[in-house]
């Protein structure tokens, strides 16, 4: 398996193992796009799925994506954000699970904020929608949310139609936030996606990002229910596809 090769020359195509979220963050900063925390990566079925997909040049679908079970909501205004999150929390029946509810709410909030305010750009490269104002998207900019629940955790997916995410954004965010003295990001009054990306990364058990530059970006997450699983297994995978 590629994961076990030493001195891997092509970081993007290699699966790496790690022992903690901070170490995973450090590997992302180095350029690794596929990282699994399994203590036995050869027997890790998710790592095997990625390995096989990379061989075929495809983006894999993981079992935790609950494709057949997931519900879909589409939103076009940031004013709908809180109501949408509340609707999803109720649909997922998380009201009696405060810890999981808190994590899901936090991740959804940051994913939607990124999609509304940081995904869409003007031709001059500036962000199209100001953070301090309501964002009313155009019909071609609709944000698609998928969500589902299964014993063990919650699946979430948020997709924008901009495709402006770059792996470099995430690398910069993690580099700043895993450095204990990270004042430049936290003190910025102008805002930015950095801290939000870090929170998404920290709160999710499995995170898959599929970016099609100029077309869409999709964040897919599995958030484990800590009440059902004390497992410390997590993964990160970032795929970039070509616009068709």
């Amino acid at each position: 398996m590629k994961a076990l090769k030493k001195n891997m020359p092509e970081k993007v195509e290699a699966i790496r193992d790690c022992i903690s979220k901070a170490e995973m963050g450090a590997l992302i900063v180095q350029g690794y796009t596929h990282i699994h925390s399994s203590p036995n990566i050869k027997g890790d079925r998710f790592a095997n799925i990625v390995d096989s997909a990379l061989e075929k040049g495809r983006t894999p679908i993981f079992p935790w994506e609950l494709i057949r079970l997931a519900s879909v909501i589409e939103v076009t205004s940031s004013i709908q954000r809180e109501k949408t999150i509340s609707t999803i929390i109720t649909a997922l029946q998380l009201d009696n699970k405060p810890t999981l509810k808190g994590r899901v709410t936090s991740v959804l909030e940051e994913l939607l904020t990124n999609a509304f305010y940081h995904a869409y750009h003007l031709p001059n490269g500036k962000e199209k929608y100001e953070r301090t104002k309501a964002a009313n998207l155009e019909t071609t900019e609709v944000i698609r949310i998928q969500f589902g629940v299964k014993k063990g955790g919650v699946f979430l997916s948020v997709e924008d139609k901009a495709g402006t995410f770059s792996f470099k954004h995430l690398q910069n965010a993690l580099k700043r936030c895993y450095t204990k003295t990270c004042p430049e990001q936290l003190e910025s009054k102008a805002g930015g996606a950095g801290l939000g990306l870090y929170l998404i990364f920290e709160e999710t058990t499995h995170l898959k990002i599929v970016s099609i530059p100029g077309k869409s970006t999709r964040f897919c997450c599995w958030i484990k229910d800590p009440a059902r699983s004390k497992s410390q297994i997590y993964s990160f995978n970032c795929f970039s596809e070509e616009k068709k």
């Binding site: 709410t105 940051e110 800590p226």
Partner: protein, 158 residues
């Protein structure tokens, strides 16, 4: 249209050593935290009724703490969502001291969840003596255990 700014309520009252602020609602980009810039030696912040905080709220809070660098800031009754920020973003804790947090427990039998107020005598300076489990009052069959990893939950107290 500017977004409304009514999601966070702050109630400030005198306390023994200074002032106490009880926060209710959501800390986000619309939160006006300037009320907390009090002329006092000590400020107790009660987070019990905070229901959500996002990255913009965290950033505002970190900036507030910087302004309060000469003030003794004490966090009390921190719910899990605040404890998570204390662990994930060290600057959110800054020079503040947490004197009590809510510890989440979950029943292995009926999955009931319960938040138990935990004083700092049980987690100060990284020495954690918080009970790992307790009988479930709801189903009276199962055992309630800490929801997640104890060491990770109290990592802020290092």
């Amino acid at each position: 249209m500017n977004l409304p700014n009514e999601k966070l309520k702050i109630e400030i009252t005198p306390s023994e050593a200074g002032k106490k602020a009880v926060l209710r609602g959501v800390i986000d980009e619309d939160s006006n935290l300037t009320e907390l810039l009090q002329n006092t030696n000590s400020l107790i912040v009660n987070f019990k009724e905070i229901t959500a905080i996002n990255s913009c709220g965290i950033r505002s809070w970190v900036n507030l703490l910087k302004e309060l660098k000469e003030v003794k800031v004490i966090y009390e009754e921190c719910p899990p969502l605040i404890v998570r920020q204390m662990n994930m973003v060290p600057s959110f804790m800054g020079h503040a001291q947490a004197i009590s947090v809510y510890t989440p427990y979950v029943c292995s039998e009926c999955e009931a969840e319960k938040l138990v107020i935990t004083p700092d005598s049980l987690f100060s300076q990284g020495k954690i003596t918080v009970p790992e489990s307790m009988p479930c009052e709801k189903c009276q069959k199962g055992v309630m255990e800490i929801d997640g990893q104890t060491k990770q939950y109290f990592a802020f107290s290092k």
